[in-house]
Symmetry: C2
Subunit: 547 residues, 2 copies
Amino acid sequence: MYKYWISVFLFLFTWGLHAQDTDFYKDYRVRWLEKAEANTPQLVFTQKAPLQTVKIVPDQQAFQGWKVEPASKENILSFYGNSFRDQTEIILDFGEHVTGYFSFSLAPIGTVADAPVRLKFTFGETPSEIMTPFDPFPGGLSRAWMQDETVTVMTLPSTTTIPRRVSFRYVKIELTAKPSYAFGFTSMYCNAGTSAATAVAPLPSGVDPMIRKIDETSLNTLKECMQTVFEDGPKRDQRLWIGDLYLQAMANYYSFKQIELTKRCLYLLAGLSHPNGYLHPCVYETPEPHGDSRLFLLEYALLYNVTLKDYLEATGDKETAGDLWVVAKKQLDIIHTYLQPDGLMDFKKANKEWWIHIDWKDNLYKEVSLHGVSVFALKNTYELAKLLGKEQEVSELPALIEKMTKAAYRRYYDKKTGFFTGLENKQISYASQIWMVLSGIASKKDARRALQNLSRSENVTTPGSPYLYHYYIQALIDAGLQKEAKEILTSYWGGMIEKGADTFWEVYDPGNDYLSPYNFHPLNSYCHAWSCTPLYFIRRYPEIFQH
Amino acid sequence: MYKYWISVFLFLFTWGLHAQDTDFYKDYRVRWLEKAEANTPQLVFTQKAPLQTVKIVPDQQAFQGWKVEPASKENILSFYGNSFRDQTEIILDFGEHVTGYFSFSLAPIGTVADAPVRLKFTFGETPSEIMTPFDPFPGGLSRAWMQDETVTVMTLPSTTTIPRRVSFRYVKIELTAKPSYAFGFTSMYCNAGTSAATAVAPLPSGVDPMIRKIDETSLNTLKECMQTVFEDGPKRDQRLWIGDLYLQAMANYYSFKQIELTKRCLYLLAGLSHPNGYLHPCVYETPEPHGDSRLFLLEYALLYNVTLKDYLEATGDKETAGDLWVVAKKQLDIIHTYLQPDGLMDFKKANKEWWIHIDWKDNLYKEVSLHGVSVFALKNTYELAKLLGKEQEVSELPALIEKMTKAAYRRYYDKKTGFFTGLENKQISYASQIWMVLSGIASKKDARRALQNLSRSENVTTPGSPYLYHYYIQALIDAGLQKEAKEILTSYWGGMIEKGADTFWEVYDPGNDYLSPYNFHPLNSYCHAWSCTPLYFIRRYPEIFQH
């Protein structure tokens, strides 16, 4: 009952904000949220059971220092057959990454249960989450993201379902309150859910086995992140981010084709945007859909436009794109706000007033990247306008794009080195070159030169996350560097596979298995949306990746 | 689904046993269990909220070394008003003992929740359960009886209900996973349940205040133990025991008059008895009603007869008593099995083949008590037969009672000391004298002498638990020692009240606050059925206790 009232309160509060006259979208919002709701996909659930009991042993050669070995032969049978009473700890392997609701059944063996039992379950996407002590917790985010749950079972036989949704391949079970009687597990499964229900065409035979494995793993990554929104990570943060959505939607067109979900997300973001008309980078579904009115991420707002254009191209759904055109148009004000007479944006001011992401990389200087992503967004938005027959509403864009392109060459490009660098910071970064390429500012020739020179130069700021690696691969392709694109994709995502990835990771540095933006590697998400795009490249560019 | 099948299995298994030809009650069992089911009382739930935040501080003078103090003024308001984020720990006092389902609601304060929260709740009937560390667990029963539960709250605002039923007055809340944002409790309550719903007549004015307090506290004790069966303790063991039922039913006739519940328990015990016809001392309600086919307690089986007779006298329900007469008659075989030509029972053999309880007291020698409780049961069973007009079915009883009475005097009574003692062990115990009195074996004069001499003698085995104290009070009354009865009741149960009892305890030794049959005093039950009978004495014998 209380929950209902709090929801109502929150709802009204949100509406309070939105409904006031200052709401840029006051005529649309209610309908947008209704459409978001109406397009909530049905989750498809499958019961997944553990395949075997395993040991996880220290191994310097293994990823993060832990190696998984089978515990014994026919051990699943003996797991169900034997009393758990004198087990202190057991680790079960589900054989794949699953996301859903975990249930188990206990029964006394040849006796009556006269006391409750207490068990601790630790769920891990990776072996390190199972083996690394969580406390004292060094992580930079809430300890509660870690998936360990203690459960008291008051009467046996009985079946218990752990309330929180969990995301894992391995589960460790510890008996923390031993009864006097013998008892055992009679059933265990995860009711695993996803909104990615359609079968995906297999790759043709003859495709390189590693490419095939990468494709499969990125399909699993995408599938696990597809719930009632495109989540960034099913373990953490479990929510819709524009930057992840852009990449997931792209991959989805080439795989599950779950169009309803993309449509829901586009409407949800629009419906929950700030009254000032700008989009929030992430939104929450529960207890009522809501955004965080304090949070703004510059290039994510712009990438919404690109996502909407992609959606229209992929689906032909002019009604939705037309509905949301007003949002796309409004996001352009961000660029106009910071644009200077010389055709460059006031980076310092923008950087003060907005969060600018680009990549997860300490000390990355983002001036050039911001310029590039802005032009990239302008071009895509103009494309969108044309597809909708609304180019007259943004007739200034071609000239603006031209002006910003010239300005970038004039002020950022160094003919000597062939690199684009910022005005106040001459840092040479992959990010800057990538966005100069993707924006089409760099000519094909200069693009190729810049990208090729990166690997040959000193003091270059390399990509820090799979997120920028996606743009890197796309830039290589755009620059006509197919061979390099295939090599980098194979070595980077293939590197995760060689280290045992079942799904692709939020963070991956080939040189540092323990890298974590949160100061605790088990807290990283090991099934992360922005890492799922290899399947897009492999299936969009068969001539590059399937031969 | 699985749970259903396991239940069916267990059900059929039990039936397998019962339905076979060797089942003494094969013609009755199904109907008895149907009647038990049909008489399940509706639990009445009330939302109980905490009254104040408190501190629990060490104090050598206080019960078990802990004293409760208010934490501050108007602190409940500030508890709900303030952010919990920087609280490490808080203790809330509900002001009374409650049994039910605990719910709490959390909401972010002036922000959006971007991560889960984890809280640990420790529920205690007494301050010592809140303050004594549970681990490493020294207790002799399952650690899982201790009422500490860790809860992960994935999204805020939200309301969470802890699945297990808890029994407490105090709850300690620890924040074990701190989020980055401010949040607070917006609601908290225990949905407290009982089947004792009727109002009980207050005692007349002028009754001694301590007697009034004892009456009130024993009403609360009984109420808390009245669920869908008469439970021994709502915290632990949460089940129906015949020895507790006998006393609870008795107190219930003088207070809540919840007749349906007694009827259910009588049928449940009969329906779940062993195929050999003997009753199990305790039975379980979930997942399907079942007994423990390995467990037998001699005098509890006999006390069933007394409980049935009391029920008939209190309710006049001849149908039920008639239905279950066959059970009562069968329990007499226990006595016949061990009866010897000289009119004494073969104690050594009985003691080997059965669990004989009498009292919770190390080294108590139970020969005389067993004889006494047997004669007590025989007399009550004959009374029952007469009320049902079935005395001809047990026509041997008067002669047998006479014979056993003479035998006890001849073999157990020591004219010099005035005490009844066993054949092979001359231990002088309260238990032996009490049962010689309650059985009517001791003449009024000898009864008075024995009971009065106890306090004046050396090396006497005193009562070890409230359970035997009940029989002691009754014996004093039967012996005409009204003044002593009132004194003992006031000093013993009043002693618990002076030590802060909200409900009466499973274990109470005025000289040792830390006594525990389980080697861990916080594991004791502090709301225990067999301690609830003062209200029976006070209301049944107003001339003794109300003046």
